[in-house]
Amino acid sequence: MESNELLQIVLFVGLLCVSTPLLGWYIARLYDESKPLRLPVLHEIEQGIYRICGIDPSEPMNWKTYAWTVILISGVGVAAAFLLQTLQHRLPLNPQHFNGVDFFLAFNTAVSFVTNTNWQAYSGETTMAYFTQMAALCVQNFLSAATAIAVVAALARGFSRKSSRSIGNFWSDSTKAVVYILLPLSIVFAFILVQQGSPQTFKPYAKATTMEGTEQIIPLGPAASQIAIKQLGTNGGGFFNANSAHPFENPTPLSNFLEILAIFLIPAALAWAFGTMVGSTRHGWVLFGAMMVLFLAGLSVSLIGENGYNPVLNVNAPMEGKELRFGTAGSALFATATTAASCGAVNCMHESLSPLSHLVTIANMMTGEVIFGGVGSGLYGMVLYAIMTVFIAGLMVGRTPEYLGKKIDAFDVKMSVIGILGSSVILMITAAIAISVKAGTSSLSAQGPLGLNEIIYAFASVSNNNGSAFGGLNANTVFYNVITAFAMLFGRFTTLFAVLAMAGSLAAKKIKPASEGTFPTDGFLFLFLLIGTVVIVGALNFFPVLSIGPVLEHLLMISGKGL
């Protein structure tokens, strides 16, 4: 690894450590209960939205109402995204005259964007009209991220409120997330991307004549705006099929660096903001620290894999499948980040990565996307792990486990188990079905351990709402469109509902003042316990299948045998 690559990583971690408390402070102030933040223009926009939609932002919601509202907005989102796709040939801004999207594909894509997964069974530049990209997909990029941020705000209230039935108002929480957080950041980032070379245009695809004299079509479109939110909202749905490996989506090493930073920006800040909202900024740092340690561990393994010697190919640090302008470190960093956070954008083809990187990327997703994770969803997933950690280890101090002043009872344990293990369950079931039936295996391009990787990567990706693709798997079949849509829905909403139910249960409890006898959750000890729980409870289930997938692949490679 070259020194500038190392510098890139150090700079990345350093910037994140600076941005986290700044943006975290901003978010915490935004959702502050006593004196919420008001910014001049943004406040007017926010109030305007309430007026137009007839929303009373102060109306209290209990967890069930909150959850039903999430269902409502998600259901409407799926329906709208579905209709916009299937009817795009009748709608404006379709310069390439694409037909309406096929039924199953449109359904799969609608579910995919609403669940913040952005699994793409389609190829953007040959399927979607500009209007579809903007109105169906880009809108859901904002809404799905805002929904998860709202849930974090509700969860934080579960801890900060006492003997309360309400956990806030979903409309207010999500509107604030869009207006104050996602929109401003996206606008700024889109301008940077345009400056770096991403297109933002309604013009039809350009025609060019190559040096050989053949005609080439160069896809264009309003790309920069969508790329900005796909990174910031950890959505990951590329404008073009090649995603951030495409020169228009990710033109330069600088844009590459910023895109990776954008993935972690909000999830990291939310950890800090959550800690502050529940009255323990130190705990926010502990959550951030656990995420960072897990991320760096994965990154190290991935870098070892990418820079290692491949005896089968007889090369060092193979570049096959990677973009030269990003290099091995830029690719490994992007791959680790995009799978750790449930972004799903890619800047290289993951199947071309080393077996160790396969292991890291798959394991990152299997932990339930809590290593920074998706915007909002990563943090609430990590809080579920924290509750499980508190419960397992907390008994060891000799009292009923408490987390942030709230007693953890059977209901909370049940919810954290459902939230954490729900996606594992659906992953195992759907992957086992897919690998056992012809409709599943016929989509695979590889066999043996690598074929197994293709399939477990795909299902780890959809059931944990990551959305990145390994490559090699033909996902646009009826079988895959249906089963992955099911996995995405199940993975997203079991966790989300478990979190809301728990927020409701916690808000109703009293707050127990901390004492010397309280299980400490704001120090290094808890940080490592949390990591231990993520690894042992979250990932260990998958150790058997991983050992005949990426682990076997790696061992075969270093023995020089190949697959």
Partner: protein, 714 residues
């Protein structure tokens, strides 16, 4: 059978073990085992494995390894049952002898009880108004007559008479106690025996719900419902087990795909016994097996401290307590005020004052009086003289004079010297009557002592006030350190006292309690408990009187003293048979220890999984890409260098079973516990049970593998 004698029941008593082994088999009944989801899964696994064994035996006849594995799977279930059975067995032995004390009891029921029915009336014509019935026919509200030698047929309240009662059947304390009508000593317990006199008792509990009945049910574990934490833990363990079940159940699909697409069909070990072994090793069997034994033994530990909890929930709550309300008298201070110092008036030798004070107290049998004698002896080595030798005439304390003392005949002749001790006002009067005056220094000393919460006792000889004796509440030795420990554990102590705020503050400071309620009334106690609870804290208190009942009921952990009233005993959720107010601290410690044991073994159990993967996975998959001479690449995971796939799997299963047996003593005894801050306790337990849980199985499995190889079993 006494509670104290329970100590003597040996864990490894052969009779107990024999009974427990028998019970282990009885508990194999799926309807019983169903309540423990983790072990239920193991049993189903063992059944499946047995089925696979039988099927394969019919087809191939080669079954050495499968038989071994299957046997050990059954052992795993049996060991878990054994852990529970042995914990219950200890209780059963206790229950059996308790039950003996109440079988076949005869009750003398009073036919028609009126408010004027008295012991003496019944004694006059016993034949007329008494019917002999079996104790089990008694109903609540019946009145029974009990005389010397009778065993009291049921729980009740003395409505007339006074008797000395032997309660050793329950408390293990052989010294008789007095039970009398009215006041705070009116409660009697069924199964206890009257040593002298007669009483009339109103039965206050239904048959089957008496104290002894409840005690029997408790020690037998029959009513031991799962506690909140236990339920939560069960949910966690069951869910983890379910996910592992799914992981193992889906594994063949993935494995078969790899086999098929690489043309290596049949190289992965996927027989039923192997898959079941993998599952059983991964699910948290250790804690699943020991969970109920831990709960039962918590109850037993409490019982060994002579405390009876009405539910497991109460013990658990004791571990969570944030605030202890403690009565000053008897808990923080020794029961009575004691002489702590002599302050002499100007011109009087301190030793002289001590000598006179001792003389004045020689015949005073009150604890205060005796403490003066003792203090004088301690400070100045003034030996307590025989009352008769002094030729003195003793003046006992009277409410009118508010003084006591002695009139000494001067042996040299010359009259009588009158020595008195008493309250400042009384002595003032006494001295003034004899034309003396109490000096300003003495008055100052009196005021100072009062301010500090002591009781000043002025000593005078004729017309001279000699000085003052300071009677103080004596804080119990070691209590300060205990409170410091409690503070370390995050528990605040609040002293309840009837004293005025000044006195209370002085004692509170000396004892090191965090707070106090002075001039306490039942209302102020109740209000304080509610206030603490509103702030999210859990409160424990101990009490005995009827006026304590509301507070005991309101407290999260209410410990009633056995000597207390029936009302107090009903209101609390624990009863301290020793009636020792300091017991509350031990109860809290037992509660904490119970939770810690549970948490430690859970952590241990989950941490164990890591090593088992490294034992079983290479065994399962080493056939992939293997050549005749070289095992497959996944053999690299065999970091323990276990001899063969079969011995690896068998070793893991055997370790998994044996660790249950090995940890039974720990789960019955509880993890060792020293009061300390949560941070330190956590660090220590993480180190022992977390890190230990990661490392120990690596060593254990390797050792078992070596034994298996040496024994030629693999």
């Amino acid at each position: 059978m006494s509670a104290k004698a329970m100590d003597s029941i040996n864990l490894f008593d052969p009779g107990l073990i024999r009974a427990a082994i028998k019970d282990s088999f009885k508990k194999l009944d799926p309807r019983v085992l169903f309540r423990n989801p983790v072990m239920f899964i193991v049993e189903i696994g063992a059944l499946l494995s047995t089925y696979g064994l039988a099927r394969d035996f019919l087809s191939r006849g080669n079954f050495g390894f499968d038989l071994n594995v299957t046997l050990w799977l059954w052992f795993t279930v049996l060991f878990a049952n054994f852990a529970e059975a042995i914990a219950e067995g200890r209780g059963k032995a206790q229950a059996a002898s308790l039950r003996q004390s109440v079988t076949g009891l005869i009750a003398h029921k009073i036919n028609s009880y009126h408010s004027d029915t008295t012991v003496s009336k019944v004694n006059e014509q016993p034949g007329d108004c008494i019917t002999e019935i079996g104790a089990n026919e008694l109903r609540m509200g019946d009145y029974v007559f009990c005389k010397t030698g009778d065993t009291i047929p049921g729980d009740g309240e003395v409505v007339d008479g006074i008797a000395s009662v032997d309660e050793s059947a329950i408390t293990g304390e052989s010294a008789p106690v007095i039970r009398e009508s009215g006041g705070d000593r009116s409660a009697v317990t069924g199964g206890t025996r009257i040593l002298s006199d007669c009483i009339i008792v109103r039965i206050t509990s239904e048959r089957g719900n008496t104290f002894i009945d409840r005690m029997i049910a408790l020690v037998e574990g029959a009513v031991r419902g799962k506690t909140p934490n236990e339920i939560a833990l069960c949910i966690l363990l069951a869910s983890l087990s379910l996910v592992f079940l799914l992981a193992v159940a889906t594994l063949p699909a993935f494995a078969l795909y790899v086999e098929k697409t690489t043309n290596q069909i049949g190289v992965i070990l996927l027989s039923l016994p192997v898959l079941v072994s993998l599952l059983v090793c991964l699910i948290p069997t250790t804690i699943g097996a020991l969970l109920s034994a831990i709960g039962i033994s918590g109850m037993n530990r409490l019982l060994r401290h002579n405390v009876i909890a009405t539910s497991g929930r109460a013990i658990e709550a004791a571990g969570d307590v944030d605030v202890l309300l403690l009565d000053k008298t008897g808990t923080i201070t020794v029961g009575n005020r004691m002489a702590a110092e002599f302050i002499a008036a100007p011109g009087i030798a301190l030793e002289y004052l001590a000598d006179r004070a001792q003389l004045a107290s020689l015949a005073d049998e009150t604890p205060e009086g005796r403490s003066i004698v003792v203090l004088a002896k301690k400070l100045f080595n003034i030996r307590s003289r025989d009352v008769a030798d002094t030729h003195g005439h003793f003046i006992p304390f009277s409410a009118q004079t508010r003084m006591s003392g002695v009139d000494l005949v001067n042996p040299a002749g010359g009259g009588v010297s009158r020595i008195r001790k008493g309250s400042a006002e009384a002595i003032q009067r006494f001295v003034n009557e004899r034309n003396g005056i109490v000096s300003q220094a003495v008055s100052d000393a009196v005021a100072a002592i009062s301010r500090q919460g002591g009781t000043p006792l002025v000593v005078a000889e004729d017309n001279r006030a000699l000085g003052v004796v300071n009677l103080k509440d004596i804080v119990k030795g070691g209590i300060r350190e205990r409170f410091a420990h409690l503070r370390l554990m995050g528990i605040r102590t609040v002293m309840i006292t009837g004293d005025n705020p000044v006195t209370a503050a002085a004692i509170a400071a000396e004892a090191g309690v965090d707070d106090f309620i002075a001039e306490a009334t039942p209302e102020s106690k109740l209000a304080r408990i509610k206030e603490e609870q509103n702030q999210g804290r859990l409160v424990a208190m101990i009490g005995d009187g009827t006026n304590d009942a509301p507070a005991l009921a309101q407290a999260d952990v209410g410990v009633a003293m056995n000597t207390g009233t029936q009302a107090a005993r009903e209101a609390g959720n624990m009863i301290d048979l020793d009636s020792n107010p300091t017991k509350l601290i031990e109860i809290v410690e037992i509660g904490k220890q119970l939770l810690m044991t549970r948490g430690s073994l859970t952590t241990f159990s989950i941490a164990n999984d890591v090593s088992k993967y490294f034992a079983i996975l290479p065994a399962l998959f080493s056939g992939l890409y293997a050549t005749t001479s070289v095992p497959g690449p996944l053999m690299a995971l065999n970091i323990m260098k276990l001899a063969s796939p079969q011995s690896a799997i068998l070793s893991a299963v055997i370790f998994n079973a044996i660790i249950i047996i090995a940890l039974i003593p720990l789960s019955l005894r509880g993890v060792s516990y020293k009061p300390s801050s949560a941070r330190r306790i956590l660090l220590r337990n993480i180190f022992i049970y977390g890190a230990g849980g990661l490392i120990i199985p690596f060593i254990g499995i390797k050792l078992i593998d070596m034994v298996l190889v040496a024994a030629g079993l693999s």
